[in-house]
Subunit: 296 residues, 2 copies
């Protein structure tokens, strides 16, 4: 039973997860290079994580990518040093399955358990403790992490007894989600080019065979011309890049996914990287000077 | 109130629609170049449509594309001649909005009403009278077609007072659906390359942000290695071709859609055109010698 949990990374997902853990009665310490994020945690039941913090039985690592995960866990100032023997590390970033397996090996070499635990659901669900976790790892790692998972997740998909499977499943989800957002951008730009009312398009498509979770979730952002970032364009440059790297290592061409990735990179190069991912629609429509809601 | 309705085209959609109309109490005549399809209609309450048939108050045209629609309606042996004055033509093929507008003009020049009425839902829903219709046309055309629409459709989206809007909405739906099937093919091939269990992938994705209507509907075909055509690869070569033609006329590049189209064309060239559209997965996985269920 974990009592003390450390969070490495208090970004849009990590902060909400740490707050959810505090709300669930755990003693939470959190670190982020941005001191304002640590203050936000301190204002909602947690404390700043530094070298003097008490050892944790669980460390949740919610950073951007594989490099940051390796550094945050096992770098010169890695937080794995502050996990008690037999404690568990939850790796939540989207990484390649090979990376997750290597992290598990590194953790076990230090006498720690490792859970390959990429997350899905967005910042709002993180703050409500209702994420989905696509998890794999040793049964002992699941057992040790049980009350932390209870605090942060609504659904834990238990996918296998070794790291790697969780990350592979997350990559499948990101492939689909990233392509679907780009498809939404093309569909709404196309609809606007034919003078269709986009609100009506949403009404019709959501009860038709063309619908997707992402279409229903993101099309309203375009209709409302609201590009405040819930999930940013640059997330997809990163995650679809991971997907196509994994696929390339398997010798598998993914033409549609690769084309979607090119669109996100182009949108980012055009200055839209920090906007909501629905802004891919502005990028696509802009090529043909098609007018979207808000005049974009 | 339509009593006699003619059907031009008794393919996988048209036959079921004609049978649904007969079941609803309408007097149904149907034509198809394949005499076996006419026999199937005759065995289920309809009759063969020929030049001696009584005039109809509604003609439902369910053929493959714009060329066949023009020929079946207004060609040298077009069935529009057998529609009574003031009767209504329902154009159900997927065509460009411009084509639908031209068909409306031609119909009105002959004293007939025209409903731009592309359909969605597949052969099973056609046979149950439960299609979705994305319809636009004059209020008088909707009024005249009311009991035919009641017989064939569960949902009629009434999208505007002129032909073209229905076809534009259908094209938006086909863009999304066609891209989503190709994305499913890439996602399942990718999952297989990472040794994920595809049935588990379906379970996880369908409750995750990566899901789509097409993913949930078609992934089971791959998992069961069942490629008997419900909707064929060649439908998407055709429909995404229409979408990209319309977009090109509007000066709008659609890179993801165009890439999906290339995949369907390549799969068709490789001999998969008449297989179920889920067979796009076999085509994608085959490039990397990845093994799918059924050994494909």
């Amino acid at each position: 039973m974990v009592q003390i949990v450390h969070f490495a990374g208090l970004g849009s997902m990590g902060l909400g997860m740490a707050q959810s853990a505090a709300k669930a009665g755990l003693t939470v310490y959190g670190f982020d290079p941005d001191a304002r994020r640590v203050e936000m945690l301190a204002a909602s039941g947690g404390q700043a994580l530094d070298r003097n913090a008490p050892k944790a039985s669980a460390l949740v690592c919610v950073v951007l990518n594989a490099e940051q995960t390796k550094e945050a866990l096992f770098g010169p100032h890695g937080w794995a040093d502050l996990v008690e023997p037999g404690g568990v590390i939850l790796g939540c970033a989207t990484v390649a399955p090979d990376v997750a397996r290597a992290l598990e090996t590194d953790a076990e070499a230090r006498g720690l358990l490792y859970l390959d635990a990429p997350i899905s659901g967005g910042a709002a669900k993180a703050a409500q403790g209702q994420l989905s976790v696509m998890a794999s790892g040793k049964p002992a790692a699941f057992d040790r992490a049980a009350n932390v998972l209870d605090a942060i997740a609504q659904t834990v998909h238990r996918l296998g007894d070794n790291a790697g499977t969780g990350s592979a499943m997350k990559a499948v989800n990101q492939l689909l989600a990233g392509v679907h957002i780009a498809a939404m951008g093309e569909a709404l730009s196309f609809a606007a080019s034919q003078n269709l009312d986009l609100a009506r398009v949403l009404d019709v498509i959501k009860v038709s065979a063309g619908t997707s979770w992402m279409f229903e979730n993101r099309a309203p952002h375009v209709i409302d011309a609201d590009y405040a970032p819930r999930s940013a364009i640059d997330i997809w440059s990163k995650d679809l890049g991971i997907v196509t790297d994994i696929a390339a290592a398997a010798g598998l061409p993914l033409p549609v996914t690769e084309t979607a990735l090119v669109q996100y990179r182009a949108a980012s190069a055009a200055g839209l990287g920090r906007e909501d991912d629905a802004a891919i629609t502005k990028h696509i429509a802009g090529r043909a000077s098609i007018c979207l809601p808000g005049g974009g």
